[in-house]
């Protein structure tokens, strides 16, 4: 559904050029939940901005359902990390969620219905007429998610959305995202630096290298659904995957992984593209 081909981004010229992204290629299937993890500063946000059409890549391209992305496509919705700066303080929750729908010309009744459904789905129905600054950080992020959902995207791009939220709230929000994915049937691309989070949420994980960033490995996560904050994290498979990703990122893995994995590519080889499921 979404195809990233040899995406690269360089800032500056000549000697002082910063290669934020070297060359990244991977694909996402419909209804998949893909997490992108990498060490700090490896250009994850830049990658997301290029993929969503907010930034123009230096090389390569992104294709959404076959069409190249050269500007924010209407099938895509973005959720940023800094929720407090992406919500409009002069509008209520309802106003904020409604705004992107205004140009879709769906008619008042339909728009209102979508808005109320989305706000209800994130559990904020009682706060729909409040203002963002009256809500806690976690609730504000929910509003941002509701806004993305009401937009009826086919794919949701999330840039470290829970990094600025406290740990307990983070757990609730993670479960919310999973539930929402079930309910609305969206594809999700989730960028994070939190390894536990990535393993917990993902169907597949794309691990990035430090800059110039490339794809280190793509793993399949075969943990059972529905995921649970306690039960899933007690599974040995969870620990194994977590350790694997951790080591990849810490670059301590020597070539060759002993145990047979359920579908993940082993070793320190860089894989350009991995669509094969176990």
């Amino acid at each position: 559904m979404l195809e990233v081909s040899q995406l690269g981004k360089t800032y500056g010229e000549g000697e002082n050029a910063t290669h934020a992204i070297g060359s990244i290629s991977f694909g996402i299937e419909e209804k998949e939940f893909v997490c992108v993890v990498g060490p700090s500063g490896c250009g994850k946000t830049t990658l997301l901005k290029c993929m969503s059409g907010l930034l123009e890549p230096s090389t390569g391209s992104t294709a959404l359902k076959g069409r190249t992305v050269d500007g924010p496509p209407p099938e895509m919705a973005l959720v940023f990390q800094e929720y407090s700066r992406s919500l409009l303080p002069w509008m209520s929750v309802r106003g904020n969620v409604t705004l992107p729908l205004r140009h879709k010309k769906l008619g008042k009744g339909e728009t209102a219905r979508l808005v109320e459904e989305a706000v209800e789905a994130v559990g904020l129905a009682a706060f729909i007429d409040r203002y963002p600054w009256e809500l806690s950080g976690g609730m504000q992020q929910r509003v941002a998610i509701a806004r993305a959902l009401a937009y009826q995207p086919e794919i949701l791009l999330m840039d470290e959305p829970f990094a600025s939220v406290d740990a307990q709230t983070r757990g609730d929000l993670e479960d919310l995202v999973l539930q929402v994915r079930e309910q609305f049937g969206v594809t999700v691309l989730f960028v994070t630096h939190d390894i536990d989070e990535s393993v917990y949420l993902a169907d597949r994980i794309v691990v990035l290298t430090p800059s110039p960033t490339e794809v280190r490995e793509v793993l399949t996560v075969d943990l059972p659904h529905p995921r649970d904050q306690v039960d899933t994290k007690e599974l040995p498979e969870f620990a194994r995957l977590r350790a694997h990703v951790y080591r990849l990122i810490k670059r301590e893995q020597s070539g060759g992984e002993e145990d047979a994995t359920t579908g993940g590519r082993a070793g320190g080889e860089r894989t350009d593209r991995d669509r094969v499921r176990g």
């Binding site: 800094e82 407090s84 992406s86 002069w90 203002y131 600054w133």
Partner: protein, 256 residues
């Protein structure tokens, strides 16, 4: 204990100052500083409500007309300038020069071009009051959070919606700051223009009184101007508080 002292002082000091003024002016026989009681009496005679129609209303009319024109023009020009860096750089030298001209120097210009009627005064007020609002509008627009802009882009919010629901509200705190400065400028210019080229108005009245040595009347006029300045500022703050209620809330929560 200190809190109570502070509150007591807040109330006592202004009263004390007034009393001192009253006593000092009543006792001395300086011609230029008549007794406070005389001034207050004249004040009541003139402004409640004898000369309101002949002087106060024309003054206020010019003031508000010039001020509102200035704000409208400034915001209308400021937003495109704020959004377009090329345009901004191109017009910047002209703006910088025009705003640096001391307003009184423009009064003769206004007189020559528009005559000594209302048009000249309103033009002067409008021309000078444009600059603070314009510059603040530009600053407000360029200072919009990039995250906000990216959010708008990613959701395809554009055109009228972007302008009215994102750019304008986001810049409005800054615009209001400019409008506040312009308000006090408008008052000053109203007075100057009336002193130089007018046959009615509060400014005219005050100067006339001085020239005909009607000193208590002069002071009554000065007092009125002071009260006007205070009242306008207060009204502005009240309006700002209502319109920007969201802003105070957001800042308060941001600061913890």
């Amino acid at each position: 204990m200190r809190r109570h002292l502070a509150i007591a002082l807040e109330i006592a000091v202004p009263i004390a100052l007034l009393v001192i003024w009253g006593v000092w002016s009543a006792s001395g026989d300086t011609f230029y500083f008549p007794p406070l009681t005389d001034i207050l009496q004249k004040f009541q005679e003139l402004w409640l409500f004898d000369r309101v129609g002949s002087d106060v209303l024309p003054s206020l009319q010019r003031l508000f007309l010039g001020y509102l024109i200035a704000c409208a023009v400034a915001v209308a020009i400021g937003i495109p300038l704020g959004l377009n860096p090329l345009l901004r750089r191109a017009t910047s030298p002209i703006v910088e020069f025009l705003r640096a001209i001391p307003p009184p120097a423009l009064l003769p210009f206004a007189i020559v071009v528009l005559g000594v009627g209302n048009a000249g005064k309103v033009f002067l007020i409008a021309f000078v009051c444009v600059w603070p609002v314009l510059l603040n509008t530009i600053d407000g627009v360029t200072g919009i959070d990039p995250t906000l802009r990216e959010t708008a882009r990613s959701y395809g919010v554009s055109g009228r919606d972007r302008l009215l629901r994102i750019v304008l509200p986001a810049a409005s705190p800054q615009i209001f700051a400019g409008m506040r400065t312009s308000l006090s400028l408008a008052l000053i210019l109203m007075v100057i223009s009336e002193m130089v080229a007018s046959t009615n108005g509060i400014g005219f009245f005050v100067l006339q009184s001085q020239r005909s040595f009607a000193i208590p009347e002069m002071w009554a006029g000065i007092l009125l101007l002071g009260l006007l300045g205070y009242a306008l500022n207060l009204i502005f703050l009240l309006v700002e508080r209502r319109v920007l209620a969201w802003h105070r809330g957001a800042r308060a929560s941001a600061l913890g």
